[in-house]
């Protein structure tokens, strides 16, 4: 997995609450059997005037010019500034895949839906949680200044702006470690294979009906 330590980048907006994963990557693109290539279809229905089709070239599709991420000033954004309960709904990991493929390295929002939040960490995408007031400040600064950038530092768990704000954010220690080191979680768990086997043997002895029925 891609590691995340420090990132400085252009901030782009997604200024609405309860953005769902259907909105982030619509259903027709879930037919792919690949992990990559979802970036051109990120926010497809908000971004383009026509209906997107899987596998189709997006470079000449008509854009919805009123959609903020289509504004020239946000081109190349790598930090997505969003509102509360971002990523609600479907568990599709295609949502972080699409954000990451588009070029985002981090999302900043007051809260996230649980499954989306978890999925981000598996893909080197950092979901930063700040308070609603802090997110409001960042929205105002971003709107006021073209080319607005900020810095996210994972080791110190801080977001810093050029205007002098320093916001600390919280996250679980194990998630931080995995992200900092780009660790292979499956590899880590397999180091515990003996512990798993021991648990499994005990469970099979006490709950035999859980094992063996499906063949």
């Amino acid at each position: 997995m891609k590691a995340f330590t420090t990132h400085r980048g252009l901030v782009g907006p997604m200024d609405r609450a309860n953005v769902d994963t259907d909105m982030i990557i619509p259903k027709q693109f879930l037919k792919s059997i690949k992990r990559s290539g979802f970036g051109p279809n990120l926010f497809d229905e908000l971004r383009y005037q026509d209906e997107g089709q899987p596998g189709a070239d997006c470079s000449n599709r008509p854009l919805k010019t009123e959609f903020p991420l289509n504004f020239p000033r946000y081109k190349g954004a790598s930090v997505l500034l969003a509102r509360k309960n971002f990523g609600c709904g479907s568990s599709r990991e295609h949502a972080p895949w699409a954000l990451e493929d588009y070029g985002f390295n981090a999302v900043i929002a007051p809260s996230y839906a649980d499954i989306f939040y978890n999925n981000c960490f598996k893909n080197g995408l950092l979901p930063v949680v700040l308070t609603e007031e802090q997110v409001d400040i960042l929205f105002k600064e971003m709107e006021a200044e073209e080319g607005y950038q900020l810095t996210i530092d994972l080791p110190s768990q801080t977001v810093t702006t050029d205007s002098g704000h320093l916001f600390r954010f919280e996250l679980d220690e194990f998630r931080k470690e995995c992200l900092l080191n780009g660790l292979d979680e499956i590899g880590l768990t397999l180091k515990e294979a003996d512990v798993i086997k021991q648990y499994e043997a005990e469970r099979a002895a006490q709950h035999p009906w859980v094992f063996g029925a499906i063949k």
Binding site: S32, R35, G89, S111, D114, N118, K122, D172, F174, E200
Partner: protein
């Protein structure tokens, strides 16, 4: 020692290892697999030169993007007209064949929507941890399972290790006491709960549904409720074991028999919350306050009683709510203050992992019987949740009732709940739908979804607009 909740008990009994960094390793008993969220996981296994940890834990079936049209379905995987979907379903078949994973293939008896299939085959049983790459996995919690959706990286993790790295959630109890009125169904109860706590109300929590309403509810009804826990933000929803749970499980295909069943039974009976257990969050609703519910907006929390009106901008407490409401009204093509039953519907969808079981089919048929779809309605799709539900409904003659009413009787699958196949809404079309999400574009680009119960959806099909099903009960035919 203080008492434990059902969730505490399920968590404790699956804890493989508690790590010093606050994370835990949790054992997974049952892994349910479908075509959409698994191909990248199997590919990941191969790239890392790994194999599935255990085979008898997995059960697979295609459901999300298969056709519900009989002619196309009869042609099998090879006959799927959408080439991208065909490759995905073929990939599931190939992966299951390669590793020896039990799969109920496209037209095999047993196939169905993953969350209909698991319980009806007895593949999910009380006390299990159940995961699937689908957010509606909480459905299985109706059988007192610890069940939740996972992403594709975790699908691969479970395949490779039989475990998940997890953090314990908080405990929430939603209690609904009293008796619901005639025409008020499990769908209405769960929509009312979502309306009360909001789509983020259950974030970071596991919800236990408790109280007389759930005790009185059938297991299929409990599945409808647990299914939509995620629409209240909670990955996990569950109901404690009682005699109904045991009666439901006994005799199903993968449920043990004889002595082993008795052994299982002794274990299952402990799967209740202790009387002195503490919850982090408690929510209460009164059954008598719940009327048939309908969503009018673009989030499941945008819901109201069928007798109510669409909210107005003036009523909103703050600017954020006003902006959200305005956007939803524009998308839905509605005016604030218009009555819910003045909303006309273009299509009706009765199906999905929320409402496609035999009781749902019966409820819809009871309304449809002797009536006919309104001439203004373009299509009414009735999509049974599984091959077994379809067979049972046909044995009861329900298909004939639907067909006589001018409705389409289809083959099992997810269908228009998420519109990955040909079943979808056109831009601007309103749909009375028994599914679980009314997000923008969910049922088709520009489509407008109104979530409701199967009986309410059938009534809307007949009336041509949203209507209080209670006005149909005992009405003339």
């Amino acid at each position: 020692m203080t008492g434990r909740t059902l969730y505490d008990k399920l968590w404790d009994s699956h804890l493989v290892k508690q790590n010093s960094d606050g994370s835990s390793l949790i054992y997974i008993d049952r892994h349910v697999i479908h075509e959409v969220t698994s191909p990248q996981a199997f590919e990941g296994l191969r790239l890392a030169n790994r194999k599935p940890w255990r085979l008898d834990t997995n059960i697979a079936t295609p459901d999300h993007n298969i056709s519900t049209d009989k002619t196309e379905r009869d042609a099998g995987v090879a006959g799927m007209t959408d080439e991208v979907s065909r490759i995905q379903v073929q990939t599931l078949d190939d992966n299951c064949d390669l590793y020896g994973i039990k799969e109920f293939k496209i037209n095999e008896m047993g196939q169905g929507i993953v969350h209909v299939m698991g319980p009806e085959l007895g593949a999910t049983m009380p006390g299990m941890t159940v995961v699937c790459g689908d957010s509606h996995t909480a459905t299985h919690g109706a059988l007192a399972c610890l069940a939740h959706g996972i992403g594709t990286s975790e699908v691969e993790h479970v395949l490779a290790t039989q475990c998940l790295v997890a953090k314990k959630m908080k405990n929430m109890r939603v209690t609904v006491n009293g008796t619901v009125g005639v025409g008020v169904t499990p769908k209405d109860v769960v929509l009312a709960i979502i309306g009360k706590i909001g789509t983020a109300g259950g974030n970071e929590h596991a919800i236990e549904f408790a109280g007389s309403v759930f005790r009185d509810m059938s297991i299929e009804g409990r599945m409808t409720v647990c299914n939509m826990a995620i629409e209240a933000g909670a990955r996990v929803g569950m109901v404690a074991v009682d005699q109904k749970t045991i009666d439901y499980c006994e005799g199903r295909q993968f449920v043990p028999k004889g002595e082993m069943f008795d052994q299982a039974l002794a274990c299952w009976k402990t799967l209740t919350t202790d009387a002195d257990a503490q919850f982090d969050t408690e929510v209460e609703l009164a059954a008598e306050d719940i009327a048939p519910q309908v969503t009018w907006g673009t989030s499941p929390e945008m819901v109201a009683a069928v007798t109510a009106s669409v909210p107005t901008l003036d009523e909103q407490p703050n600017e954020e709510k006003r902006k959200g409401l305005q956007r939803a009204l524009e998308y839905m093509g509605l005016e604030g203050g218009q009555s819910i039953d003045s909303i006309y519907v273009d299509r009706v969808f009765i199906g999905s992992c929320t409402n496609s079981r035999i009781e749902d089919m019966r409820a819809a048929a009871a309304v449809a019987k002797g009536r006919h779809v309104a001439s203004s309605v373009k299509q009414v799709l009735i999509v049974p949740g599984s091959q077994m539900v379809k067979a049972q409904a046909e044995a009861e003659g329900l298909d004939k009732i639907f067909i006589a009413a001018g409705m389409d009787w289809r083959e099992p699958g997810c269908s228009m709940c998420l519109a990955m196949n040909a079943d979808k809404l056109g831009a601007g079309e309103h749909c009375a739908s028994t599914s679980n999400r009314n997000f923008e574009g969910r049922q088709g680009n520009g489509g407008r979804t109104h979530l409701m119960s199967p009986a309410m959806a059938a009534a809307a099909a007949v009336a041509g607009h949203i209507v209080d099903v209670r006005s149909f009960v005992g009405g003339d035919r």
